[in-house]
């Protein structure tokens, strides 16, 4: 049995997103929409294009109509840390500047948690765990109760307003079942998005982190790779170049069902309190 409770019929599949080589082309966003027939979305969800004014990010966040989201972060850093892409400029190159802009770009996606809150709380069984250890919604079962939406510690899954049901990344369940890689990974021109067996990806990620550290990029860190984190590690994990919250990721997410036994105990005790109070209220009341 795997940690998530699935009988091991085949290895767990996942994503390693190496943000250090992301160029912000958004090919993943487009490929995902094309393959999965995800409706057009501005951030307002009305299908109109939205210009958010947040660098090059006009998607804003993950949601029912955005299963991949490329974040763009512009940071002021010492000039020595600016990536020189050798782009043509106008006028003499200005090397005297003490600071420059560093770009952080990262393609975010459903984490396919080992302990997935969305799946835990779904009352209908619409959300289920596949043989690849991924987390998928069955649209023919979901009744749009919306419980999964606030349950996800990463703010991934969302109700599609005009449809009523919840939608999110399926890790291209229909493609990987046929031995294809997910659409986003296929489209990624820099192999920032890598798809494969999770064990292999974890090794590769550890190597990549060491390589970057050796090159002096000491801020490189892995996010979601640790099986001891609050969600038991994620099936889609990341190499980041700054703190997770800078990318809009929670720094220490937990699956809240972890605390469920304690919560039921509290609620049970409170219910007994109600029962006792009701009984006590009738002392001496008999006519």
């Amino acid at each position: 049995m795997s940690e998530s409770g699935y009988a091991d019929t085949q290895p767990r599949m996942g994503f390693f997103t190496d943000t250090s080589v992301c160029i912000g082309c958004k090919a993943c966003e487009v490929a995902c929409k094309e393959w999965n027939l995800v409706p057009a979305s501005g951030s307002s969800g009305d299908g109109e294009m939205d210009l958010l004014g947040l660098s090059y990010d006009n998607t804003g966040d993950l949601g029912s109509n955005s299963w991949r989201h490329v974040a763009f972060i512009e940071q002021q850093v010492p000039a020595s840390r600016v990536d020189n892409l050798g782009m043509p400029t106008i006028g003499a190159p200005d090397q005297q500047d003490e600071t420059g802009v560093r770009w952080l770009m990262s393609s975010d996606v459903c984490k396919h948690c080992t302990h997935a809150a969305c799946l835990d709380v779904c009352p209908t069984g619409a959300l289920f765990r596949t043989e690849f250890d991924t987390v998928v919604v069955q649209p023919d079962i979901c009744n749009g109760c919306g419980y999964c939406v606030p349950a996800c510690p990463y703010g991934v899954i969302e109700k599609r307003e005009d449809d009523g049901r919840a939608f999110k990344c399926t890790l291209c369940y229909d493609r990987i079942g046929d031995g294809l890689e997910p659409a986003c990974a296929k489209a990624c021109p820099t192999e920032s998005i890598q798809y494969g067996e999770l064990d292999v990806l974890r090794l590769r990620a550890a190597e990549r982190k060491q390589e970057l550290h050796a090159d002096g990029v000491t801020e490189a860190r892995l996010y979601g790779e640790n099986p001891d984190d609050g969600v038991g590690g994620t099936g889609a994990f990341f190499l980041l170049l700054d703190e997770p919250e800078v990318y809009g990721l929670p720094p220490d997410p937990v699956v809240t069902t972890r605390d469920l036994p304690g919560m039921w105990r509290r609620a049970g005790a409170a219910a007994l309190g109600v029962a006792a109070a009701v009984v006590a209220s009738f002392v001496g009341a008999r006519r």
Partner: protein, 330 residues
């Protein structure tokens, strides 16, 4: 479209680097502003997808129904027919309305029976559905028997069974809210069951104070006082013991609603002391309690929404936890 679009542009810009939470003026003196970083100040977790007023009403009605059913069962054995009757009617009416609110909130209402497709202990909504469905059925049977005078023994049996389920009706909704990543609800997981138990007791008592003649109203008065005490304690803890997240229970619309709820509870409790002598006082106390219940439930709901809209309430508590226990990010 209810997607929260957080703080204004200026703050979004500044939130890029190190953002500073802006505390209200009154608070500035007492609390260090929380330092946190974020992605343009945008929310991390999603706002609860439920509609207002559906879900806050579902919480209120279910709680009032649960306490009323238990009261009705006790009133039957204590030979207080008017109190038993009122409790039975409120239990059925409240729980059926609660079911209606829940179904209305579904994205696919025609699939409401899918709630009973499986029983999932990890899902408080599944467990809750398996409490709410039999409860509302039993309460309805009991009411029909009461109103028609037919099948009295079965009606009594059903009413007593509903009375046994009543306390569970009062508190399961607290777990429903607490088992989410919504900071105000999850951080308040220890206090919410007590608050909801107290609020259900005052609401159930309020309905009885409104409907029952003075000579039978004493138990409702007693229950209301006990509920009010539990509410005050739990609310104080929510407002002060949850670190930065407590702000969401004190400020904004949630703060206003919860303050109004507290004031109305106090008025209800005070007036209820006269309820065995004055019918007018009894009715006024009942109305105050019911209004308090509505304010409290909407207040808790609103605090949850506010806490999900500002990344501060997600990032700061998690950072504090990491500082205590070490980081999982390597």
């Amino acid at each position: 479209m209810s997607r929260a679009r957080g703080p204004d542009r200026d703050q979004q810009r500044s939130a890029q680097g190190t953002g500073r939470a802006q505390p209200s003026r009154r608070e500035r003196a007492m609390v260090e502003p929380a330092e946190f970083r974020s992605y343009y100040g945008r929310p991390i977790v999603k706002e609860p997808a439920w509609e207002q007023p559906d879900v806050p009403l579902y919480l209120f009605l279910g709680g009032a129904a649960g306490a009323s059913a238990s009261m009705a069962a006790m009133a039957r054995v204590s030979d207080l027919p008017r109190l038993a009757r009122a409790g039975t009617l409120v239990a059925a009416g409240g729980s059926l309305a609660s079911v209606a609110a829940l179904i209305h909130d579904l994205g696919r209402p025609e699939r409401f029976l899918y709630m009973l497709r499986v029983f999932k202990p990890t899902s408080p909504l599944s467990v809750g559905s398996w409490i709410l469905a039999p409860f509302s059925g039993l309460a309805t049977v009991s009411t029909v028997s009461l109103l028609t005078g037919k099948l009295r023994p079965i009606g009594t049996l059903a009413g007593n069974a509903a009375g046994l389920l009543g306390p569970a009706m009062c508190t399961y909704t607290a777990v429903l809210l607490a088992d989410t990543a919504t900071p105000a609800w999850h951080e308040g997981r220890r206090e919410l069951p007590v608050l909801f138990a107290g609020s259900a007791a005052t609401s159930g008592a309020g309905a009885a104070l409104l409907l029952v003649p003075t000579r039978e109203v004493a138990p409702a008065r007693n229950l209301g006082l006990a509920g009010a005490a539990a509410e005050v304690v739990a609310e104080h803890r929510l407002e002060h013991n949850l670190g930065v997240v407590s702000e969401t229970y004190r400020h904004g619309r949630a703060g206003t609603l919860l303050k109004a709820g507290k004031a109305l509870t106090a008025v209800g409790a005070g007036l209820s002391l006269l309820s065995t002598r004055s019918r007018v006082a009894s009715v006024a106390a009942g109305a105050a309690y019911l209004a308090a219940g509505v304010c409290t439930r909407f207040g808790v709901y609103t605090a949850g929404v506010a806490s999900s809209r500002d990344p501060k309430y997600t990032v700061v508590p998690q950072r504090e936890r990491m500082a205590q226990h070490g980081s999982a990010v390597q």
